[in-house]
Amino acid sequence: MMLLLNATEQAQIIKASLETLNLLLVSALVSLPIGTIIGMLLALYEKRIFNKHRWLIQILSVIVSIVRSIPFVLLMVIIIPFSFNTFGTSIGYMPSILSLSLIGIATVSRLVEQSVIDMNPTIYDLAYSMGASKYQLFKEFIFIEVRSSLILAYTSSLVSLLAYSSVVYIIGGGGLGYTAIQIGYYSPVGKTLMWVSTILMIIIVQIVQLLGNILANYLNKKKRGH
């Protein structure tokens, strides 16, 4: 595939791939832990396992929905003044990571919430009948039961993040979106670059999905004690 490109284009595509991986990994590192915590909280309150300060959780849920409903391109542009005031830069890496992390946290928390809510409800009865404390319920029952679907939720979030990361070139974040759209599609000489970038994105998605499926299957089997 690299043979189709000349030296400049090869350099561009390598730089862009590294930028995309960087954006993806850093925003995932920020959004997976925070998103998981928020998603768990939302689900546990929904299931009435926790009950104190419900209104806080309802506000959190509304905020998550708001972040998810703002068009992403708009979200990136809204973040610019904040990024400039906080980090002294309105272009490139910093605002890209901020906006990706924000949308990542919202996506992950909703998917995690769904996984936990969708869990087989008999698990609660089982836990209570065995006299489990709330902590034990979480650690020994919910977590074990839900972790394979959590992995699938993460996989799905990563793929969403990759899709979102393809437009951060608008605020100077670079990446494969830049080579595919700006110097691929819009320029009269970039058709090969456009297709090579797209194929690279497809490969990244396939790898993420494959690893996610394998890990989820493994955890699923382990749960059933096979």
Binding site: T8, V26, I80, G88, I91, Y93, G172, G173, V189
Partner: protein, 270 residues
């Protein structure tokens, strides 16, 4: 375990903050670029400028927001806009951006796949024109110059469809965004449209050649104000680095490259 996690979080936050603070190097020029052929032009003169002691760094992002970092002094100049786009930003944001050097005049043309001359255009033909507040006036000025319509006295770069004083052929105006004009034009039987060659695509989404061009916009004092330009702030316009950059930007090397590679869509403005 908690301590380790905390340390990792703190370190990564510091790292992120460090990434954000790009050190402003004394002899580096940051130039904002977006669409073809601006990145190519800057790349073309980067090595020459290096020999002259100036490092050039390209900041590549969407042109709609490239004026903000320029006004914030994060970059030193950009090559994305004409005078009217800049003035619009200046007024809206109370900024002081100035045109440092016009780079090229985009060709702007009346397209038709059916009619061979202006006189052949029948009464009541639909014509597709750009819808935005900068390119619609430019299209109307072109049609006025071609004698298809006349604009009200004294109205030029602010013209709207309401400013058409006479429309002898009863043309029906269909405003479309730049990116969708050519598809609308083809769907309607390729009758009439005002487009930039860079946006004129055929039904296979490939760029069209000039065979359907009925008339180009004529370069005069008015249409020259639409030159895509190198823009800086008022306070760094006279910076020697900027002046050197302009010197290389307007060299014969760039001019020849533009004529050869982009001559189908624009002509150099220097």
């Amino acid at each position: 375990m908690k301590k380790i996690l905390l340390t990792i979080t703190a370190c990564s936050l510091l790292l992120l903050a460090a990434c954000g603070m790009t050190n402003q190097n004394e002899d580096t020029l940051k130039i904002g670029v977006n669409f073809y052929p601006m990145p190519e032009i800057v790349t073309l003169i980067t090595d020459d400028l290096k020999e002259a002691g100036i490092k050039v760094e390209q900041v590549q992002m969407d042109y709609n927001i490239l004026n903000t970092p320029l006004a914030n002094k994060e970059i030193d100049g950009n090559m994305i806009q004409h005078q009217y786009f800049m003035e619009f930003f200046n007024t809206a944001n109370n900024a002081q951006l100035v045109i440092a050097q016009p780079i090229y005049h985009s060709k702007f043309a009346l397209y038709s796949g059916i009619y061979d001359s202006i006189d052949d255009i029948p009464n009541g033909t639909t014509i597709y024109v750009p819808e935005d507040v900068v390119n619609l006036p430019r299209a109307l000025i072109l049609l006025d110059a071609l004698g298809l319509i006349t604009l009200k006295e004294g109205i030029t770069v602010t013209a709207t469809l309401d400013d058409i004083a006479s429309n002898p052929k009863n043309l029906v105006f269909e405003p479309k965004s730049l990116g969708t004009t050519s598809q609308a034009y083809h769907s309607d039987g390729s009758k009439l449209a005002v487009m930039y060659p860079t946006y004129a695509r055929d039904t296979n989404n490939e760029l069209m050649d000039a065979s359907q061009v009925l008339a180009y916009e004529e370069l005069n004092d008015l249409t020259k104000t639409y030159a895509i330009s190198f823009v800086t702030r008022k306070d760094n316009l006279n910076d020697p680095k900027i002046q050197t950059f302009i010197e290389y930007l307007t060299s014969n090397k760039v001019r020849n490259w533009l004529v050869k590679n982009y001559g189908w869509a624009a002509e150099p403005a220097f």
